[in-house]
Amino acid sequence: MLEVALRHRFDALDLDVTFQAPQGLTVLFGRSGSGKTTIVNAVAGLLRPDAGRIVVDGRVLLDRAQGVDLPPHRRELGYIFQEGRLFPHLTVRRNLKFGAWFAGRRARQAEFDRVVDMLGIGQLLNRRPGALSGGEKQRVAIGRALLSAPRLILADEPLAALDAPRKAEIMPYFERLRDEAGVPILYVSHSASEVARLATTVIALDQGRVIRQGPAAEVLGDPTVLPTGARDAGAVLTARIAAQHSDGLTELDAGGNALFLPRIGGQIGDSVRVRIAAHDVILSRARPDGLSSLNILPGRIAELRAGDGPGAMVALDTSAGRVLARITRRSADALGLEPGQTCHAVVKSVAVAPGDIGA
């Protein structure tokens, strides 16, 4: 458990946040300039905030009021940087062992083989970082942080510098980290699809303030939380693979509703997360008939929020979970939508991007 309370002011940023990150992967989510990286650097000890207190599992790393401020090398954290920051003069093996050497007894030798195996970097051990691809570098960076026996892992937009295929390559490693490492992870992102796929907990930030924090499905399903703008809004559903059809579609069972998606790798019964972007959802009062779309989720309108422009955000509670729909205010008026009404969400099957599918 990570507890953070910070106040810091520099340039245009006026940061004042208080939040907790439980076990699992906590995403600091917000647009650039919202203070995400400042928070992570303060936790790492690379930046000294004006005021604040940071505690990891009861161990006080910073308490300005008490005069406690551990230097970075005594905080026992693993920091995965956006640019990797591997040491160019050391081989991959020595990069990986760098932190373990300082961790001393905290680091276990058996870990090395397990982490190398998990990240699939066994054949890179004798190379130097200059000879690695972007995705390989980032996997080594993950391993290096992990092998320093950290009490908390920090990741500052670790996928932002990678192209889409490399992102898809790295994302599963963060899922495994979240599920297997047993260490809390604080992960900075401004990508809604990364958040949807990876987050256990979401801390939504805007202009240096926490605007919402809680479990991922809850925060992302809240129509008032749009840290990166309405265009990126979208809810996350958890579903189970029900069948693999011969026409290349995978049938998911989402709370008793069938969802059809382009083929997803996985066994029947596997749990998957799908993100449904709000702008890909159409609402219908009556159950639609004769539509080409295969995915229809009945539900009840939980919230209706008109934006400043012509748009409106509708939150629909379905048996699969909360779904967000972005429609025009004109349509909302024409349909006479109000909280409490029953309604049907129509999702085109192709609208669920493969990158948004995760275990």
Binding site: A44, G45, L46, P71, P72, H73, R74, R75, E76, L77, G78, Y79, F81, E83, R85, F87, P88, H89, T91, F98, G99, W101, F102, A103, N126, R127, R128, P129, G130, A131, R144, A145, S148, L154
Partner: protein, 233 residues
């Protein structure tokens, strides 16, 4: 080689090598510290220190030598204090080494400073988050990455020390076997009739040593750069 060079020429060559070696070796840690301070730290008087370091580069060498003589002759307070603990610099080969070190210092510091400034502090931050304290960060990240600059600076300083003349002859004179380095010996040979051939031999030695030092520094620099730059181990 010993036949080709007469005993006096040979002594000058050996002395020059000794003087240049010690000038380089003794100023290495001081130079590295100074370069690091100038590259990384903000402190009052930083510009003054920078100016002092570079002064020997722009002052007439005779002036530098004379300042050393004024400050370190056995009758000056500092010179006497050093003499009492057994360090005699004036008219001694150690003085020649000091004069050469002072003259070579700006070149050494400059090369090291550039190398230190080229190290990305973000890598040092990464090392710190992995548990390395400041000294370990320096030893395991900064120092290896600065190594090409240190080597280049040291070899440059060695070559410069081999060729130092003005400050040396002013500070420690031109005593055969004691302070007569190659340049002083060339100068001395040219003052006597028939000394041209001995002088020419020393000129050749100078050129060979200087050229060798430059080639060596290039080669080492490239090897280290290749090691750091990437590729297979």
């Amino acid at each position: 080689m010993t036949d080709w060079l007469g005993p006096e020429e040979w002594r000058a060559v050996a002395l020059s090598l000794k003087v240049a070696f010690w000038a380089m070796t003794a100023s290495l840690p001081v130079g590295l510290f100074t370069a690091y301070a100038l590259a990384r730290w903000q402190f009052p008087g930083k510009q003054v220190l920078n100016g002092l370091v570079h002064l020997p580069l722009v002052l007439p060498p005779v002036v530098t030598g004379y300042v050393l003589l004024l400050g370190l002759n056995p009758n000056a307070p500092l010179g006497r204090a050093l003499a009492e603990i057994g360090i005699v610099l004036a008219f001694n080969w150690t003085g020649a080494a000091l004069a050469a070190a002072v003259m070579a210092f700006p070149l050494m510091v400059r090369a090291m400073r550039l190398a230190i400034e080229a190290v990305d502090p973000k890598l040092e931050q990464a090392a710190a988050t992995l548990g390395a304290g400041p000294l370990w960060v320096f030893a395991t990240v900064t120092l290896p990455m600065v190594l090409p600059g240190i080597v280049a600076g040291a070899i440059l300083a060695f070559a410069k020390a081999m060729g130092e003349f003005g400050a040396t002859i002013t500070f420690v004179s031109n005593i055969p076997g004691q302070t007569r380095t190659i340049p002083s010996a060339i100068y001395a040979f040219l003052q006597v009739p028939g000394g041209e051939s001995a002088a020419m031999k020393l000129v050749i030695v100078s050129v060979v040593v200087a050229m060798g030092a430059l080639l060596l520094s290039e080669w080492i620099g490239r090897r280290i750069a290749a090691r750091i730059g990437g590729g297979h181990a």
